[in-house]
């Protein structure tokens, strides 16, 4: 894959050159497909989400010192300094909004606004799932709200 799509809707992506494991959790199942392509299955989901409750929560980015912020991409070392995880531009901007000031509702609103040309339902769905990917990787803490 390429981190950055050339054009069109670029959903928030996280990628790695390395196998990813979560400490104190079931490791990702890594499956090798044809031509050596590897897919990483994220253990046993799904997350059942009460959306009205989630929307008022405030996500806060963790591991601030571990981040590298470039113009078009970002990288964080996971879980500590072991494995670099690369973020595409959309994911990078999404993460920057997780600054402890914005609610998830505000972040979703911003994300939809940045992708006006694309299907709103898809954009919202990707954004919500991306929040849970960050949560699963323990890259954000979710605070506050009612």
């Amino acid at each position: 894959m390429q981190i950055q799509s050339e054009k069109g809707y670029d959903y928030p992506k996280i990628a790695s050159f390395y196998e990813v494991n979560i400490a104190n959790s079931t490791p990702f199942d890594v499956m090798v497909g044809e031509e050596g392509a590897i897919s990483i299955k994220l253990g046993t989901d799904p997350y059942e989400v009460n959306l009205p409750v989630l929307l008022v929560k405030i996500p806060v980015l963790k591991k601030k010192n571990n981040w590298i912020l470039e113009k078009r991409w970002a990288c964080v070392f996971f879980p500590e300094w072991d494995t670099p995880l690369y973020f595409n531009k959309t994911a990078r901007e999404f993460c920057l909004l997780c600054n402890g000031k914005n609610t998830i509702q505000e972040i979703l609103k911003n994300t939809v606004k940045s992708n006006l040309k694309y299907d709103r339902k898809t954009v919202v769905n990707d954004a919500i799932r991306f929040i849970f990917l960050l949560k699963k990787l323990k890259l954000i803490a979710i605070r506050g709200g009612n």
Partner: protein, 456 residues
């Protein structure tokens, strides 16, 4: 008697995806088989949880020989413990670069390892097998060159093992003796097999243990016999490509050309790659190599700063390196390069130079970067004061901060430079599938609850 040779996995670099047959063990296996000894190879990089224990229980080897480098020593020790636990009285031997330089520490620390092999292992292993068959004794061990063992609570070392001068006399590595995994595992991505055409390296890079291990003796094989081996592997295993895994394949220019001419003359129609030094190639050589099927070259460049290159005794300049990389790429050859971050005299500016180099020249192969590790036996290990470094011998299973960097060159700062280089390299390869996307988890929610005001 039965021997099992084990290749320890590399926990620290499992994603480097080296999928090649362990050639060193192949040489050991074929040599002792030619002397009438039953032997199998277990490559634990490809083993599942209980595979190794099952193999030990079923095969019941008398001798277990484990290959060990500094960076996978902990995995090798764990294998030794498992072997001793399951087999009880079998002999457990450790060989390879780490065993060669750290035999005393290993024998003092790891009680499950009975003997370490120092230097080249073929003849030594055979002599150990004979000694075992004759009922191993302190006297018989003392007569075997190139080993260390425990005797009366102390570590005894025998005289150095003489190096094999004519490598062509060794039988072709025993690919057929792999018990674990299935031989087809090595052909998963392509029918590529490793071939060794020389041993040793005449250069003296301060961070590298190869020339120390081989005493700077460059021992080369006969071009015709090398190409005979290629033909054998094509006919026997359907190999279509080869990796010449010598430390530096191109040391002897005339020999390199002869190998190429022989491949062309026999019309083998193969692809191959090799490791080379930028100062051992010429434009003419590149053309001949390309014509003979060379598709990939690996250059260990280490740094693009001449002062750093001089300090580590690399023996060429950054200008030379850049010129040769460009020349090889212009010839249509894929060029992999490697750099070491945090070398003596290094700076973050130097790392950025590497990043700029990757972008500017659109390097068409992989750019491998790692932070400096001080390996036993190297000049840096033996003379840290000269290089202005301090290091810890406490190697971890990952690329670790085993040396002290300056404040600017902290381990974390270097890692950040590393990922920038990695990203720049990846950006040159739009078709590259090596960057693996982490999928979203499944999330279920009521779509009707998405407020209308989330949107335009």
């Amino acid at each position: 008697m039965k021997v099992l040779l084990v290749f320890a996995p590399y926990e620290f670099m499992k994603t480097v995806t080296s999928n090649q047959f362990p050639l060193g063990l192949g040489y050991l296996a074929s040599y002792i088989r030619s002397k009438g000894i039953e032997v199998k190879i277990a490559d634990l990089r490809h083993a599942k949880n209980n595979d190794f224990a099952k193999l030990l229980t079923e095969y019941q080897p008398d001798i277990v020989g484990i290959s060990c480098m500094t960076t996978n020593q902990n995995e090798a020790y764990e294998i030794a413990r498992t072997a001793k636990r399951i087999l009880g009285n079998s002999l457990v031997i450790l060989g390879g670069v780490h065993a060669t330089f750290m035999y005393e520490e290993i024998l003092k620390k790891i009680k499950e390892i009975d003997i370490t092999v120092i230097g080249e292992g073929e003849i030594t292993l055979h002599e150990l097998c004979k000694a075992w068959e004759a009922g191993l004794s302190a006297d018989s061990l003392a007569k075997i060159n190139g080993i260390a063992y425990r005797e009366n609570g102390a570590v005894a070392v025998t005289p150095a093992r003489e190096k094999i001068q004519i490598i062509d006399d060794l039988p072709i590595p025993a690919f057929d003796l792999v018990a674990l995994p299935d031989i087809e595992c090595y052909f998963k991505n392509s029918r590529d097999l490793p071939v060794l055409t020389s041993r040793g390296c005449p250069f003296k890079c301060a961070f590298c243990s190869t020339s120390v291990m081989h005493g700077q003796q460059y021992r080369k094989r006969d071009p015709e016999k090398i190409v005979d081996e290629l033909e054998f592997l094509i006919n026997r295993y359907g190999a279509v490509s080869f990796s010449f895994v010598d430390d530096t394949f191109t040391v002897d220019k005339e020999r390199t050309k002869k190998i190429c001419y022989e491949i062309i003359r026999r019309n083998l129609n193969i692809k191959w790659g090799c490791s080379a030094r930028v100062d051992t190639l010429t434009a003419d050589m590149l053309k001949i190599m390309k014509k003979a099927g060379c598709k990939g070259l690996f250059f260990g460049i280490e740094s693009l700063n001449d002062n750093v290159l001089k300090k580590i005794k690399k023996g060429f300049t950054a200008r030379k390196a850049v010129k040769m990389v460009k020349m090889a790429m212009d010839e249509g050859i894929t060029v992999d390069t490697s750099f070491i971050l945090g070398l003596p005299g290094d700076s973050l500016d130097n790392s950025r130079k590497i990043c700029d180099f990757v972008k500017k020249y659109k390097i068409n192969g992989r750019v491998l970067t790692n932070t400096l590790q001080i390996l036993p036996g190297t000049d840096m290990y033996l003379n840290p004061e000269y290089y202005g470094i301090k290091y810890s011998k406490n190697y971890k299973s990952t690329w670790s901060n085993s040396i002290s960097f300056s404040e600017e060159l902290s381990f974390k700062a270097l890692l950040k430079e590393k990922v920038k280089i990695q990203y720049a390299n990846h950006a040159n390869h739009s078709e590259d599938a090596r960057l693996y996307e982490i999928p979203y988890p499944a999330v279920s929610y009521n779509e009707a609850e998405v407020p209308e005001f989330i949107g335009p």
